[in-house]
């Protein structure tokens, strides 16, 4: 009968065992103290049960050594929990270099997934086992949260900014995706499946068609269609900054501050260009708010990142990027159209 009463979720990522280890430590400590206190209360209540109507207890006023004892022992134990939990959090939130990037957009009420080689999925996410996967996530409307219980990872998906999470699946199978931040009527239906596949199977799935150009290629095309390239010229003769090699660098702003060019800054510069103008340039860029969808912003970001060799893709994919080291020896690229780069 116990297969109907699972006590712990399956472990399907390298992170899962690490999270469970801390969980078991806390369960052990909690069980020890809960049982200790329950036993003491029960034993005292029985042993010192009132036998005569007029019986009274001893006048004991306290004990400083005891107070210090039960202040500092719990303090010490909780500090172990703090350090362990903080260490684990750093590990869970810092994706390793070279992780395979996947873009995820949440909207009421579905998950849209776009792989670097152009595969798109809805409420499904296919990943290979044994390889770190980093999700870069944004929302089109309200706050959502992307949760894969079997991997023990979760991050809120927030409009107006990008949150990331990463995992390394280590057991092939299909696992739940749940939205855990309440987002309206069909919140409970904003669910899906992660399919973790052996690398060979993953390659077969990846080349299974349906790819319509990766986000880098789509971004490159948008870059032309929106005429971004008329100002952001490669040779520096345009009215806007050269974007090649810019991502990840620190730039000086006209306000005198410096900022690191990350996803959020690129996004802001597209949607609200006047907010943080790079030093030496006029605030003349028009806003693209309302002209580009959340997915298109992600594609433009992917393209800008590719100009700096950033953003590790699925193996051998984009037109503008050398194959990433991790995927260099992988089978051929999917039948993606080469976009015309200028």
């Amino acid at each position: 009968m116990f297969e109907n009463l699972p006590l712990f979720p399956e472990q399907a990522s390298e992170q899962a065992a690490q999270v469970d280890a801390l969980f078991f430590f806390l369960v052990a400590v909690s069980a020890f103290f809960a049982i200790l206190i329950a036993m003491m209360v029960a034993v005292f209540a029985v042993k010192f049960h009132r036998r005569r109507q007029d019986e009274v207890g001893d006048a004991i006023h306290g004990s400083i050594p005891l107070e210090l004892f039960w202040t500092f022992i719990p303090l010490g134990i909780t500090m172990v929990m703090f350090v362990w939990g903080a260490w684990l959090f750093f590990h869970l939130t810092r994706a390793p270099k070279g992780a395979m990037e996947v873009y995820v957009v949440g909207k009421q009420w579905m998950w849209k997934v776009e792989h670097m080689d152009g595969q798109r999925e809805i409420n499904e996410l296919h990943v290979p086992v044994g390889r770190p996967v980093k999700l870069i996530m944004g929302s089109e409307d309200v706050i959502h949260s992307f949760f894969i219980p079997a991997f023990r990872v979760k991050a809120d998906v927030i409009p107006g900014r990008y949150n990331t999470m990463w995992f390394t699946a280590n057991a092939p199978g299909r696992y739940h995706i749940f939205c855990t931040q309440y987002c309206g009527t069909k919140h409970a239906a904003m669910i899906g499946w992660v399919t973790a596949m052996e690398p060979a199977g993953y390659q077969a799935w990846r080349s299974g068609g349906g790819a319509t150009g990766g986000p880098v290629e789509n971004g490159a095309k948008l870059f032309q269609d929106l005429a971004c390239n008329t100002c952001h010229k490669e040779d520096g003769s345009g009215r806007g900054p050269v974007l090649k090699g810019l991502f990840g660098k620190e730039v000086q702003l006209s306000s005198g501050q410096t900022i690191t060019v990350d996803e959020a800054y690129v996004r802001e510069s597209i949607l609200n260009p006047q907010a943080k103008v790079a030093a030496g340039f006029q605030p003349i860029m028009p806003t693209f708010q309302g002209l580009v969808s959340e997915e298109q912003v992600l594609q433009l970001i992917a393209y800008v990142k590719s100009l700096s060799g950033e953003g590790s893709a699925a193996p051998g994919t984009s037109a503008t990027q050398a194959p990433s080291p991790a995927g260099g020896a992988q089978p051929p690229a999917p039948p993606a159209k080469k976009s015309g780069m200028n």
């Binding site: 207890g57 306290g62 909780t78 939990g85 900014r161 309206g184």
Partner: protein
Amino acid sequence: MDTITTAPTLNYLNSAHGLASWLLTRDHKRIALLYLVSVTAFFAIGGFFAMMIRLELVTPAADFVQPDTYNKLFTMHGVIMVFFFLIPSIPAVLGNFMLPIMVGAKDLAFPRINLLSWYIYVLGGLFTLTAAVTGGVDTGWTFYAPYSTASSNSHVIMAGVGVFITGFSSILTGLNFIVTVHRMRAPGLTWFRLPLFVWSHYATSLIMILGTPVIAITVLLVAVERGLHLGIFDPALGGDPILFQHLFWFYSHPAVYIMILPAMGVTSEIVQAFARKNIFGYAFVAFSSLAIAIIGFLVWGHHLFVSGQSTYAGLIFSILSFLVAIPSAVKVFNWTATIYKGAVSWDSPMLYAFGFVGLFTIGGLTGLFLASMGLDVHVHDTYFIIAHFHYVMVGGAIMGYLGGLHYWWPKITGRMYPEGWAKFAALTVFVGFNLTFFPQFIVGYLGMPRRYAMYAPEFQVYNVMSSAGASILAVGYVIPLIYFIWSLKYAPLAGKDPWGAKGLEWEIPSPPPTENFAVTPIVTERTHQYAPSREVGIA
């Protein structure tokens, strides 16, 4: 004893008659009863929503109610239980009644303001109930933006105005308590002779005064953004949705301590009275209340670990969240030590106190799981959280409230209640509670998210357990309602001190006269001094 018929003397219940004598009263005891009736009504409404939720969750599909209805059910359950039951319950009922008596005063410092705070509470309640019956709210009690400001089609502003208004009732009650404790203590009642119930209410009042304005501002900003499209939280209007979460939890995490601190105060009183023994480590128990109130203001960011909040901010919030657990642990150890070498009776209030200690311990310990950043990532927004805060709020705050109601019922009404039924109800609540909420820890760790009208089939077993437990719990709550009402007319008279407890409230008649004390009492020692003190040797 049957020769005693009705209390011959005038008391606060029979000194005036008619509806107006209640609705215009300035007597803190009558106002406490007005609150008792109204919070009980809200508890019944909130409980009804809870039963609807549990009925829906018996099966994985959304078949009993539609998802939209379900979303409104859990929202109204949360809003009503948090703002209209848990926050006012112990302070406005038991605190209102007992705090002036415990400090030896005739009333609170501002009797008219006390009555005003009840009217404000009722007005806020009417707004929220109007929102409920005209279509409901579906944002969750947390009102997260931008869902609440830009997406929800429900009565957000109406419900928000209800919460906004009710907040002032809380502020005024806190203000009244603080001034009363500072200015109206009887001669000889020094700070370190105050009953621990008063200390815990003092700490609670600090939170009410300092925290409540922030939730008022926050819901007002939601209304402004929703109604006037002023960009505050919604990024589409240039706002910041994380700002909302900071503002909301700046109040709403301390609000948890508004709920639990008074229950801790009740437990301190009950443990001493029924073990016939003064508290172990008085100063540590008293100051731990203040420590919880102060540190409790600095932990709100642990609700934002997965929101993308700065990791370094997260570190600070994590370590402070662990620190706030320590004073709670100190209290639990001191209560346990108080029972040691006591003369322990197992009367129903003590059963509730035992239940409180056990359930609050579990609620507190599971809080450590959430303070731990790496572990919170997995359990955040799952049923693990639901189980944790129900252990604190239902297992802790409501057990404390019921324990206090049983302990002081003879004082409030002048009559006992059927002890056998009371023991049975206490046991029923304990069993029903654990059956309802313990399975939720497991299903939460398995990954079941909160606020799901539909769920994966593998979670069903635990949900059926929860729903079964909830029906037992409901029975456990209905039994006291019946025998308390019955006792008003039929139960034996209590006399002034039926428990053999010590404290100013047990030195005056039951029910107390309107002015509480015929002569202002002079206090020479702490309450609950049962045995001659060994050190000093005076009685």
